[in-house]
């Protein structure tokens, strides 16, 4: 593992963070009455498209997975990825409902939250690992990662989930704040978790680069 790899990782992630910040501020330039809390549905749509685009472009440009020959940018593969993304959106929705989300009320909000969560967690996985589910399962295991990109992917994905989970806790409180409502709180938490993962993972890798040994012979 070279320092240039880590640098590349860091710069890519900084660009990602920058794009998230942009996605908050750019729409308010073009749209009137835009605010994160009040027009949250619109924001989520813009946000999701924006982050997806940035992720895809960055991964295409940086090409971190040049070592692996698993991924071929065939049309069938891309279609498969799209299918996985859709499936993950629906399965996230089902999981939210299983976790006490209202079944009928806020259906659109819940689904958009599922899309957003998929954007943050599934899209990077698809970009890096392609449609190879075995690789996915491998990455999220102890000693399963094989190079720093997978390592950081593991961290950002887990931190996004944890962020969304943690921000479910303010929902029952009686503070009556607009950011406390069901999916909004979780989307904010998930964004924070994702950004935290983006910042922490390069630093953590940099810090532990002596100890990190990967099993790619």
């Amino acid at each position: 593992m070279k320092d240039t790899d880590i640098k590349r990782l860091l710069y890519t992630y900084l660009l990602c963070i920058f794009s998230i910040i942009l996605s908050i501020f750019i729409p308010s330039v073009f749209l009137e009455n835009f605010s994160i809390l009040e027009t949250h549905l619109m924001w989520w749509c813009i946000y999701s498209v924006f982050v997806t685009a940035v992720n895809v472009v960055l991964y295409l440009v940086v090409k971190p997975n040049v070592f692996l020959k698993e991924i071929h940018y065939h049309l069938s593969n891309i279609l498969k990825c799209c299918l996985y993304f859709l499936m993950s959106c629906f399965s996230f929705h089902v999981i939210f409902v299983l976790y006490e989300a209202p079944l009928i009320e806020f259906v659109l909000e819940t689904f958009l939250f599922a899309v957003l969560l998929s954007t943050f967690t599934i899209i990077p996985c698809l970009c890096l690992l392609g449609s190879n589910l075995k690789a996915w399962l491998r990455v999220f295991r102890r000693n399963g990662v094989t190079f720093i990109w997978e390592n950081s992917l593991q961290m950002t994905t887990i931190s996004s989930f944890v962020g969304a989970w943690l921000r479910a806790f303010p929902i029952p409180l009686d503070w009556e704040r607009p950011w406390q409502v069901w999916p909004i709180s979780c989307t904010l938490g998930e964004t924070l978790g994702y950004v935290a993962g983006l910042i922490i993972s390069p630093l953590w890798i940099c810090w532990n680069r002596k100890q990190l040994t990967y099993n790619n012979n």
């Binding site: 399962l137 295991r141 409180l173 009556e176």
Partner: protein, 1098 residues
Amino acid sequence: MNSLSCPRMQKISVLLFLAWVCFLFYAGIALFTSGFLLTRLELTNHSSCQEPPGPGFLPWGNQGKPGACWMASRFSRVVLVLIDALRFDFAQPQYSKVPGEPPVSLPFLGKLRSLQRILEIQPHHARLYRSQVDPPTTTMQRLKALTTGSLPTFIDAGNNFASHAILEDNLIKQLTNAGRRVVFMGDDTWKDLFPGAFSKAFFFSSFNVRDLHTVDNGILEHLYPTMDSGEWDVLIAHFLGVDHCGHKHGPHHPEMAKKLSQMDQVIQGLVDRLENDTLLVVAGDHGMTMNGDHGGDSELEVSAALFLYSPTALFPSTPPEEPEVIPQVSLVPTLALLLGLPIPFGNIGEVIAELFSAGKDSQPHLSALAQASALHLNAQQVSRFLHTYSAATQDLQVKELHQLQNLFSKASADYQWLLQNSQGAEAALQTVIAELQQFLRGARAICIESWARFSLVRMAGGAALLAAACFLCLLASQWATSPSFHFRPLLLIPGAWGLGGAILYAGLLATTGLKLDPVVLGTMAATSSLLPFLWKAWAGWGSKRPIATLLPIPGPVLLLLLIRLAAFFSDSFVVAEARATPFLLGSLILLLVAQLHWEGQLLPPKLLTIPRLGSSSPTGPPRHSGAYALKLGVGLLLCTRLAGLFHRCPEETPACHSSPWLSPLASMVGGRAKNLWYGACVGALVTLLVAVRLWLGRYGNLKSPEPPVLFVRWGLPVMALGTAAYWALASGADEAPPRLRALVAGASVVLPRAVVALAASGLMLLLWRPVTVLVKAGASAPRTRIVLTPFSGPPTSQADLDYVVPQIYRHMQEEFRGRLERTKSQGPLTVAAYQLGSIYSAAMVTALTFLAFPLLLLHAERISLVFLLLFLQSFLLLHLLAAGIPITTPGPFTVPWQAVSAWALMATQTFYSTGHQPVFPAIHWHAAFVGFPEGHGSSTWLPALLVGANTFASHLLFSVGCPLLLLWPFLCESQGPRKRRQPPGSEAEARVRPEEEVEEPLMEMRLRDAPHHFNAALLQLGLKYLFVLGVQILACTLAASILRRHLMVWKVFAPKFIFEAIGFIVSSVGLLLGIALVMRVDGAVSSWFRKLVLAHQR
């Protein structure tokens, strides 16, 4: 035989040790409760006009004047304006300290200018008092005090929990009895307190604390028209705006100034409309803290304003510089006598003597006499109350009561003497007045002493004891698995110390002659028995014990546990616990699945290793296929979510709708829907029955001719049938033809009792013959003898027996397989088909089913679906947990923390999903009438037992079933290999394999092979479960004591604490019963083996 009795000794000491730990918790709970929950007995006696409170003629007499009672009425009408949370300084007139400078400007100061003006202009007409309020300073308790004149506590014994209606004698009741028209407007709390008492009422919801104006504007809409209409004798207006403004903004906010100015206008408007025979009372029910909260006993909360005004002159003197301090309850006897009513029976207030001095122009002598007679009536009434109360309970201190009675007799005698010698000097009258006042104050003081004070020392002591007990559980659960662990010293030392402490305390009391308090005695015993343990912990601290061993709970589980505990400190979370618990449970389940995957135990290695990355193989072989654990997880989530559909809403969230399925079927109207639901309920019942029988049958536990097995085969269906028949009768009782009415009524009495009796006899049978093993005869006998030939002598020692038992077991399995082959049984051959391998869990499951049926009967019909889900859920959870627990032979066996936490969480979740909430109005009272449709007469323990069993059914079931957590991994031992060895399509291979297999899974016999470890594991399991429950109750006590000033303390935290405390007691008893059952089975298995060995030797 000493060595043989050793395991039995171990078992007894494990049980006793657990019982001792439970006792520590109970002592802590009792101590905390005695300091926190103030109790008082409600008397239902009433005062009446005809019956004066004591001997002696009444000075004014009731001759001649209509409507006069104990005393002639001074006012025919009263306007009572109750401004919620009107603190004294809100009403205090503001004068600038230095002339010329404006007074201190704060939003809440000097806004009630009309009071100040009246006090200045008409000093003989009005008076402002600082009224001293008794805690708890919550509105409902204050309203009770302001009408009964008593000191309401949180639990007024004899209280009707289902409604808040006041049963004690009170002003409103006296008014309605006297035929006065009482008109009310404002806070709807009054509706609950005095149902149907008002001739006219305008109630407005007090629920939304953030709404400052709805109640006040509603009152203002009706206040003046009502006043002008004249159709009232007593007008009560209860404004909430000030209180809500305090809660929302706090007193230091411009809104408060606006609100108080509005109140000022109201008072001015009323004063302008008053007629000469009307008294105006403006009172605050309590104060508020700097932040606008109330409920506790701080100075700001307990000082409220009280303002009296009458258009006719009332007071002989001008008001003093600093307003007088009077107890709030003084208003009750004062108003009663001024209106010519009897003083409410339970009043302990003292009349405001000034008001009875017959105007400013009267002679001082007459005025003093009038005061003395009012005070004397008051004193007679209080004395009568004290006498009745102390006859009913032992709350009050006997010695002080005696002194008070002496004081009263003396004052009364003096008063009578003065009356007869009517030329008594004024000075003598003043002495009598002083004596009567001294008596009244003394009476109030002893009542406050026993009813209205948090004892912080006791609360802190209780919490500390609970914390120490939790700590003990944590440490002892670790010691239990260490190899050098001995059972005997476990018990003797704390027992001796505890006894010593108790004797010491009793001796101390005997020498000082104080009354023995059982709570303190228990505490002393508990504390002293803890001392040696604490000493040991202290001595072992630091030296070689790293901090990690002190916190053995794995990080994520600890985090979940901490979140759960933190939730007890927020009223929103306590209210939302019904939804938060499934969320936490779901998180824990997902965590378990994720952890399995993370550790590489979820998927077989070949799926994961990419050919290029050969070296990244997992550490241990997975015991199940990946989809298996995932399916379990999803199934669990689904069950949890479905159970959540049976959800009752807490009253604090008006937007939430309770599930309509919680009501009994009898309340449904549609015939078709009712039939469908009935079918579903019976279906759930049958499914439960079939599932249990299938499970037992699968492990071969249904083959034996033993009585419990026969009972499971035949008794359980009869129980299900009885339950279904009872439901049919209960849901359709109204539709029965008249001829059958008597039959239906009889059956609805008999059926539930019969089911309960059947369940009880089933449990008895199970306890009597817990070994349900099929003993084979015939061909197997000679072969057994061959195996056993090496053991020629009788099994004298435990070692011999330990060696023999696995041999017998293996041999019998071979035997069984041989038999199966002979009979050419088809299908997959289960290697665990032998009963012995699941003997403990079979007994547990049978016992749980027997227990579930009577509990099911106490619930509404549709809850049977939840019970089905409960069994399914715990089954899935046990399988999921078993997938992650490695079997360590030959021990020590451990139950991981996540298993225990998940189990406890599931118990809580089921509590909610069976339609319960930790508040008193949500208790299912109808459970008391199951099997007793006519009620219980005077007996109270039986209905209490029934309602308690209904409320804490989930606690009981889960705690009794707790040992399953230990047993299940051994039970699943047989599944792992079987599942892996049967890849689809290799049928022939599967047939051959079992023959090749040398090592058969011993399953639960592994536990029997290591009795020491088995007992230690049971002890550890019990301690861990007690710890998880114990920290919950600890968190509740801490929340209740830290937040004792909180607005919601009596509404949310105190009921939550009570429910948790009772739930803990039920759970701990259930836990002991469950562990005792396992031990009973173990003992029976031992004696069965011994008999078998002896039989073979003959």
